[in-house]
């Protein structure tokens, strides 16, 4: 079972790097603050975004049907997938039908969730991620470590080395401008050659049957305007009722994600170009179940801006891979256990409950409260480590028995100060590895009260 604390400890071991990672993400968080501050109605916007999404989730089946109707009327073909396997089969079927062997894909966390790339590669199809960050991690055969900045964990020296090996850039080159230019040349070739384009979907509009894809690089547009087959993959929660609702979300999305006022391209697709085909794959994969849960429903509000990751003091210091989940960070620690509570049992605990994610989230998901609720579920499901379970039981028992509590406290106060250091600070004591224990006072507060305060 992957363990967050273990992987996090490994990441933290390299202090310089962990600090560098923390600072990079804090910088993004600061840019978000600056952008949000320029909008006096920021909190009002968040409120509306949350309301629209809550409404959407509460009317999801109707809206999905409305969307399908309107999209179909525009000549878009809509497909439904219960799970990742169905999703991948649908996509592959479409590509096969068109004899496509070379595909370009713009960023889509959903296709990562479905592990679409390896699936298509097994079937002899070349699939190239075209978001620069995602292309970088793809070259390494790794998943993104962040949902907006997939290669945020990598240093330019490492990217330079990778490009040198795979794209033939000069050895030792680390200038981002130079490296990005090399990627531009490499990827433009791929765009030109591709026979189909796959994109994710940021928002799908029930009322019009259209959908919106946001990028900064223009890769979704290049990937879909040069060939005749566009396949857009979306989770069923990506729906919004009206086109006008986009105003709220597009104002929030990029500002929350990177501090930009809007992404460079916010492209609205409403039907295929003449002679071309447009397909949409609607994926459930556990989402419909979440919609039934009062505790976790709100997590379907997520617009994948990653602000919760950027602000999370744990994510910033432990890196995306420490979560061993397609979506890392606070929202990933909610979605992960929903999919597989056993494998992701440590994620809801990878959180100090500081609540920063909840305050930063543009769609007002009560992230830290959901994480707390997940801890209960994990306990109920029996995935809590025995040591934690027992110590909490003993503590509760002790706290219900005030006399015993007083006695134990007194014993500890009279013994601990005389214990030799090695008994207090050793491998058994995780507190004491890098911290001193509190200095034990002679008297407890209640003992002092007894002596000094004439209470009735």
């Amino acid at each position: 079972m992957p363990s967050h604390p273990k992987l996090a400890a490994e990441f933290v071991k390299n202090k310089d790097r962990a600090h560098w990672h923390d600072e990079s993400l804090w910088f993004v968080r600061s840019k978000r603050d600056k952008a949000a501050r320029q909008i006096p109605e920021w909190e009002l916007l968040r409120e509306q975004a949350s309301k629209i999404k809550m409404h959407t989730i509460s009317h999801l089946p109707d809206l999905l049907e409305e969307f399908e109707r309107n999209a179909t009327a525009r000549g878009v073909q809509v497909h439904w997938a219960r799970n990742a396997t169905e999703h991948n089969e649908i996509v592959h079927g479409l590509l096969k039908k068109h004899d496509v062997t070379r595909v370009v894909k713009s960023k889509s966390m959903l296709t990562e969730e479905c592990h679409l790339n390896p699936y298509l590669e097994r079937h002899g199809i070349e699939i190239i991620d075209t978001d620069l960050g995602e292309r970088i991690v793809q070259m390494q055969n790794m998943p993104p470590s962040h949902i907006v900045m997939p290669a945020i964990h990598m240093k330019k020296e490492e990217i330079g080395e990778l490009f040198h090996e795979q794209l033939g850039t000069e050895k030792g080159a680390t200038d981002p401008q130079y490296l990005a230019e090399a990627a531009r040349q490499h990827l433009r070739q791929k765009f030109i050659e591709a026979e189909a384009g796959i994109t994710g979907v940021n928002f799908a509009i029930a009322e019009t049957g259209g959908f919106v894809v946001c990028t900064n690089e223009g890769n979704a547009d290049l990937g879909t305007s040069l060939n005749k087959l566009h396949i857009a993959c979306m989770g069923i929660e990506k729906l919004i009722p009206r086109a006008g609702d986009l105003s709220v979300f597009l104002r929030l999305l990029a500002r929350s994600a990177t501090g930009q006022p809007i992404t460079t391209y916010s492209s609205h697709f409403h039907g295929p170009a003449p002679g071309a085909e447009m397909h949409i794959v609607l994926l459930d994969n556990g989402r419909s179940e979440i919609s039934g849960s009062d505790e976790f429903r709100r997590s379907l509000n997520c617009i994948r801006c990653a602000a919760c990751m950027n602000t999370c003091p744990v994510y910033r210091r432990s890196g995306g891979y420490s979560y061993s989940n397609t979506v890392p960070g606070p929202i990933g620690s909610i979605l992960g256990p929903a999919k597989d509570p056993k494998a992701n049992a440590t994620l809801p605990f990878a959180c100090s409950l500081c609540g920063s994610c909840t305050d930063v989230c543009p769609v007002k998901i009560d992230l830290h409260h959901q994480l707390l609720t997940w801890r209960k579920e994990i306990r109920v499901k029996g995935f809590l480590p025995v040591s934690k379970r027992i110590s909490m039981k003993m503590m509760s028992w002790l706290m219900q028995a005030p006399r015993m509590y007083r006695f134990v406290g007194k014993m500890a106060r009279s013994i601990v100060p005389y214990l030799p250091r090695f008994m207090l600070y050793n491998r058994m004591n995780d507190w004491g590895k890098q911290r001193e224990l509190p200095i034990i006072p002679k008297q407890s507060f209640r003992e002092w009260m007894k002596q000094n305060h004439d209470d009735k």
């Binding site: 603050d33 990878a350 305050d359 909490m392 407890s444 209640r446």
Partner: protein, 248 residues
């Protein structure tokens, strides 16, 4: 008649930081409050709740309400424990008028001092550079001050109170309200990240010239103090009530 206040001293303050309880008591009494300390209190159940062990919390929550329901107000020098009582007890009481009433009259100590007793300044002096650590639960659960994530006019009574005290200079931090990394059992189960977070906070205060590090929550301070003493940093740690009591 003076309001009768039940003093809620969280278990770890009772056992490890009695001086914080004493300071809180002295300040309240100084301002004419009739304080009573119910002997049978122990713990609000937060450690169990935060570990997901809700079965273990229920009995403690019920005890808590029984012990404190008779007072005009319940005051506690820990934002975290107050937030537990105010925001996380609901599931143990369905439609319980006693709990609802208690919830409304439970206050974090500084909240009570500045908002109910309306104390705006203190007459004493405290000639130090003070670093105010914004404990997360006081900030983002109890909203005792504005958090940096939420856009709106800044506010914060404690900051204002401290600033009003002669001699106090507040440190300007790079990250004014980042979590210290204590997080209850998180401090142990995610020891590596927890300590790095704590170190980073300490470093920020060190850079800002903090002489005395304070907070509304002793638990954050226990963690930060542990790091400060291990690394032998020249920063003194005091709970907010320990500072205020010196300024009466």
């Amino acid at each position: 008649m003076a309001p009768k206040v039940g003093l809620f001293i969280p278990c770890y303050i009772d056992q490890l930081y009695p001086q914080v309880g004493i300071a809180t008591l002295k300040i309240l009494e100084h301002f004419g409050v009739d304080v009573e300390y119910p002997e049978s209190q122990t713990c609000c159940g937060q450690p169990m709740a935060n570990t997901g062990c809700t079965n273990e919390v229920g009995p403690l929550a019920k005890r808590f309400v029984d012990i404190f329901k008779g007072y005009d107000a319940v005051v506690c020098p820990s934002g975290s424990c107050v937030s537990m009582v105010k925001h996380h007890y609901a599931e143990y009481f369905s439609d319980n008028a006693e709990y609802e009433e208690l919830k409304a009259k439970t206050y974090e100590f500084c909240d009570y001092l500045t908002n109910i007793l309306e104390v705006k300044t203190l007459s004493g002096r405290f000639p130090h550079k003070v670093g105010l650590h914004q404990s997360c639960h006081g900030l983002r659960e109890l909203r005792l001050a504005s958090s940096s994530e939420i856009m709106g006019p800044p506010f914060g009574n404690v900051r204002e109170l401290l600033e009003s005290i002669e001699g106090v200079e507040l440190s300007q931090l790079q990250r004014p309200d980042e979590c210290c990394g204590f997080g209850g059992t998180f401090a142990v189960s995610e020891e590596a990240v927890s300590c790095m977070m704590g170190e980073d906070r300490v470093h920020d205060h060190e850079q800002a010239g903090t002489e005395v590090l304070t907070a509304l929550d002793m638990s954050c301070l226990m963690h930060l103090d542990g790091i400060i003493r291990r690394q032998k940093k020249p920063i003194r740690v005091m709970h907010i009530s320990e500072i205020l009591v010196e300024c009466l």
